[in-house]
Symmetry: C2
Subunit: 202 residues, 2 copies
């Protein structure tokens, strides 16, 4: 696949076919992930690939609890507070119910706590998603919640010194890939000075 096609058709995938991913493809995806840059080439990442059905179920239960804990933090107490329809919130709510059905969940960890270590693993996550896209495999970046953090560490035997950065379900999409909706460049790019949105002449 071309670089352009992968970048421009990558979108969050939250529903998956019940089909497992070949290990050789997962390996290639992880090999792509670790090519990413990191601060001082520290490579502070660890990828925990959860495929065991029982573990996925237990992790999925904690994910569900975490998702609702985040909603409660922002005043949403239950499904009745979420408008019906087909928006991204409904889709994320369904993922909170169904994440255990994705054939693989990658728990991305960083070697120490704090934002610097977190920042240094995120480029690898983007490589991972792009490489997965190249195999027709989708996923989405999700976070957990401090309420379940300790239990996820225990469940997967993650060392206490590592932080969990993201939890990424992967699988073959039940829907379609991209394109995505984005603000236009004129809203998010300035030239030389903030607010000047006229490019310089060549």
């Amino acid at each position: 696949m071309s670089l352009g096609e992968s970048i421009f058709t990558l979108r969050a995938i939250r529903r998956f076919q019940p089909v497992s991913i070949p290990n050789r493809d997962l390996t290639d995806i992880l090999e792509a992930a670790i090519r990413a840059p990191s601060g001082g080439n520290s490579q502070p990442w660890h990828f925990l690939l959860v495929q065991d059905l029982d573990l996925r179920k237990k992790l999925a239960n904690l994910y569900h609890e975490a998702w609702w804990a985040k909603r409660k933090d922002s005043g949403i107490m239950g499904p009745e507070d979420i408008p019906s329809g087909k928006g991204p919130v409904q889709s994320a709510m369904r993922l909170a119910d169904e994440i255990g059905q994705s054939p693989a969940i990658i728990v991305v960890c960083a070697r120490s706590k704090g934002p610097d270590s977190m920042a240094s693993v995120i480029p690898a996550v983007q490589n991972l998603l792009l490489a997965a896209r190249g195999f027709g495999i989708g996923g989405t970046i999700t976070t957990l919640h401090r309420q379940v953090e300790e239990r996820v560490h225990e469940l997967l035997n993650i060392p206490e010194s590592f932080q969990i950065v993201y939890c990424i379900p992967l699988g073959y999409p039940a829907g379609n890939f991209g394109p995505v909706k984005r603000k236009s460049l004129v809203e998010v790019v300035s030239y030389d000075y903030w607010g000047n949105n006229l490019p310089n002449k060549d």
Copy 2:
């Protein structure tokens, strides 16, 4: 360019040919950047593309000060404390002298302070570097330092509420692209439980 070639040959580029980058290519690179995912599709990024020679010089002076401020934070007081040779630290030290000579510097900002907003712009930065690679254009992720933060905000008219996440020089490399040195997968991947580095059988 294929996705694989871009991912596997992307490396930090810190020396540039004195050749400007066509605006159409910069536009395509930024269009690729903003396709990245962000938390709740918040797209909290702003890209400030600095090409004006005088501004680049002023920004380069602040970058130089920031680079040495970071070294001092870790006990390195001057060039005499940095071992000679051809390692990444020497290369970074030289970039601190020469960053103003790169034809474009992209100052990547996030809409608010704090790690969540920072995290949400980093996938776009990786897209940016990969897309640049597709045009034969190199760069590297660098950070500033709180010591110069306020002056960079003033210089470029960046709103106070935005944080500066990264400062990315871009240009045609004076050296070569990848491959890169990385730890092997067996060191950074576990299967199901932390520390189990045997993949499941297909």
